[in-house]
């Protein structure tokens, strides 16, 4: 066990591989083939299954307790979200179909809840906020780069510099709050928490499903964009309040 690893600063090799597979799987799902979501599934559930089977032993008892507690929280959030979505879509026996985006929303809520709860139990708010913001910032950065590349290579073979630069600036404006927040957490935790909540509200206002018929895609985007910022900001403010 390396020093940084034994100090709990870095996840285990299995955790790093799992996180990479989740991000890679989501990107492959978005840009290559919907069926490749299975790659994210292997990353999200594989290590936990191996640990429960006793084939992977890379956590101590506190980490296992945090993971089990987070699993219960994810079950509560995911189950409640699934029931609410099914009820709303089929209200009055309308018989509306549940699209793949709704399923994705429930999975995203479960995964985000599990990640946030496990890290918050193990590390408390500041380090959890740093890690969550870096993970989601990295995801949106990769998403932005992949979008720009896919649009630049779109059929015509021409390279539109202005469109590409606009895409880069839009990507930075989304990723910026995540990376700046991760940097500022230890310096100004209370102010950072408040700013993260305000930015989450702005994202919700800008990217929300207001006035649309199908809310699923927008809610999924908000879950991956605004919810991490809101959760981190709230956790920071609550922790700062309890320590003063």
């Amino acid at each position: 066990m390396s020093e940084r690893r034994s100090r709990g600063l870095l996840p285990s090799p299995a955790g790093l591989v799992a996180g990479g597979l989740v991000i890679l799987g989501v990107l492959l799902w978005m840009f290559v083939n919907k069926g490749l979501l299975v790659v994210a599934g292997i990353g999200a559930f594989g290590p936990g299954i191996l640990r429960e089977l006793g084939w992977l032993n890379d956590q101590d008892e506190f980490q296992r307790q945090a993971a089990h507690r987070a699993g219960y929280h994810a079950w509560l959030v995911g189950g409640l979200a699934a029931v609410l979505i099914l009820s709303a879509l089929q209200w009055g026996n309308s018989g509306a179909d549940v699209s793949i985006e709704w399923v994705g929303l429930v999975l995203a809520l479960m995964w985000l809840t599990w990640l946030f709860s496990a890290l918050l139990t193990y590390w408390a708010a500041k380090r959890t906020t740093t890690v969550v913001l870096l993970v989601f910032g990295s995801f949106w950065l990769l998403f932005g780069v992949a979008t720009i590349i896919s649009e630049a290579m779109d059929g015509t073979g021409s390279f539109d510099l202005a469109t590409t630069l606009l895409g880069v600036m839009a990507g930075i404006s989304i990723v910026g709050p995540f990376l700046i927040g991760a940097w500022a957490v230890y310096r100004w935790p209370r102010a950072t928490g408040a700013v993260l909540i305000v930015i989450a509200a702005l994202f919700a206002w800008k990217f929300g499903p207001w006035g649309m018929d199908d809310w699923s895609t927008q809610l999924l985007t908000l879950t991956l964009l605004a919810l991490p910022l809101f959760a981190c900001g709230t956790a920071l403010l609550v922790e700062e309040r309890s320590t003063t």
């Binding site: 066990m1 034994s6 100090r7 101590d60 008892e61 506190f62 980490q63 307790q65 408390a124």
Partner: protein
Amino acid sequence: MTQQALAERVGVTRQTILSIERGRYNPSVGLALQIADVFGVPVEDLFEIESETGDE
């Protein structure tokens, strides 16, 4: 003894030792006994139940 050294002796992460010290995590009986064994003291010398009034 540093937190890191104790963590290595009992086979947990330093974060776990830190969380025990800060009262954020109650260790299992097995881990509590291991920690007491490292220091050569009875486990009740290291851990105690807080009273409802907050007195230790």
